[in-house]
């Protein structure tokens, strides 16, 4: 027995060692790369799963809609409220709508939407696919002549990629509404004047960059959620890990992508 314990102890030590973990990390990167390549190979080849994509778009939208409405409104309201004293110091209160619009369009709307969606949609996709994996539902789909990757993964990734930019646009509108509420309360600015000032500083690049950013975020959230769920193991524990991994990894990647995209976009200004 002692020999067995010693063997398993040395095995565990090997498995928790730096080299082992580094190996696992690079193996994961390679697997994610293959997962993304497989998505592009299968998503745009017939037969297309239009119905399922639309159903998933609806699911993604419905899951996040309430939370995004509340969060977007509060973000717009609070940002305006917190920015007022600084602008007031220079007597520049009239610039508030412009400041709010730039902040919301360039950063807050895509970012807030992506973070909310990571939590709501990413975790839900991870848990759903994870649960399907451990209860052999994905295998059942495969043996009944359906390609589970195409039906489950491609549709969900396409749905998040399509829906999150739409949700980000909605968040921007709701955020601006929150900003307007604050501005109209303090300055009594009319809605028309506020909106004129909102759109004045914005350029075409701001809209394009926000859309591209949200699309990338949407793709990331979908891919990460699906990857975590699709390769989930270890029973119910694995389902929890898949959901958790989907949220943490997606949020982390969203921030990294934000930095990279901002740097790239700034080169075009």
């Amino acid at each position: 027995m002692d020999t067995v314990n010693e063997t398993s102890a040395s095995g565990n030590a090997k498995r928790s060692g730096f080299k082992y973990r580094l190996g696992v990390f690079f193996a994961d990167i390679y697997k994610i790369h293959l997962f993304i390549v497989r998505f592009f190979k299968e998503a745009f080849v017939p037969p297309f799963e239009f119905k399922e994509v639309i159903r998933q778009c609806y699911e993604v939208g419905v899951r996040s809609f309430t939370l995004i409405t509340v969060t977007g409104f509060i973000v717009g309201l609070i940002f305006t409220k917190q920015s007022r004293p600084s602008l007031a110091t220079f007597g520049a209160n009239s610039w508030l709508p412009s400041l709010v619009s730039i902040a919301i369009m360039r950063a807050l709307a895509p970012l807030v939407t992506a973070l909310i969606a990571s939590g709501k949609v990413g975790s839900s996709i991870g848990a759903e696919l994870g649960s399907m994996r451990v209860t052999e539902q994905i295998d059942a789909m495969e043996v009944s002549g359906t390609k589970p990757f195409k039906f489950l993964v491609c549709t969900r990734v396409l749905a998040t990629t399509i829906t999150i930019p739409l949700l980000a646009t909605y968040t921007a509108f709701i955020g601006l509404l929150g900003g307007y509420l604050n501005v109209s309360m303090y300055e009594g600015t009319s809605y028309t004047t506020f909106m004129q000032q909102v759109f004045q500083p914005l350029v075409y690049l701001d809209f394009t960059a926000a859309l591209i950013k949200s699309t990338v975020f949407g793709f990331t959230i979908g891919i990460v959620g699906c990857y975590q769920g699709y390769y989930s193991t270890k029973g119910t524990e694995g389902v929890g890990k898949a959901a958790n991994g989907a949220v943490v990894t997606a949020m982390f990647l969203v921030f990294i992508e934000e930095i990279v995209i901002v740097q790239i976009v700034n080169n075009f200004r």
Binding site: E128, S131, M132, T135, E136, Q137, D139, A140, M141, E142, V143, S144, G145, T146, K147
Partner: protein
Amino acid sequence: MEKQKVQIDHKDTVIKIRGLKKSFEDYAVLRGIDLDLYQGENLVVLGRSGTGKSVLIKLISGLLTPDRGTIEVLGKDVTKISDKELQELRIRIGFSFQNSALYDSMTVRKNLEFPLVRNRKNITRAEIDTAVETVLDAVGLSQTINQMPAELSGGQRKRIGIARTLILNPEIMLYDEPTAGLDPITCIEINDLINEVQQRYKTSSIIITHDLTCAKTTGDRIAMLLDGQFQRIGTFEEVFNTNDERVKPFFDYNFIQ
């Protein structure tokens, strides 16, 4: 219910396995398997937990790939055919999973419709409804049509799982632990259902189990998997009429001697 005599065509081999090997990391699960499944036959694969019984049927259905050997199913080697051919072949094979693997988010009706809608492109609504009603009737669960899987008992889930595979009229059925986790009465019902499927749908089946009552009731032949190889293949009596110390405890435990 007593098993009725069925016509087995020993000249027509629907599954032919030769030299099959499969390992997971350093552990060799299957160490050179040879097996023939004849047309119309119920073959039971017996063995202890972890001996690779489920691995065997996952290899047959192409869910896993072998390290070595050939698996010929209905004349096609699943290790060599293309993805498209494998997909077409899978429609001719029914796979009943240990935990039923019903789609949680769908009603019983949707679960049954799913393989049909996915694989028969020009099928009409009326044909789908008829097919669903027929298989539900075959497993005796017509009343559950609008229920969700979570609302069903273990035995009902098994039956619906079997119904879902039957809807495509498979030529081969693979049952993974069909009676695992069920009470004795439900086990008898499932065993009867397996025999009924064999008679009514003219299927050839591989039944994975460690339940000897299931093996005796449903199996035309028994294959005993020990140490990664089939040690004994034959009728129930032929397999257990032995002094092999690896086989005897299996029988003694199941029949409480």
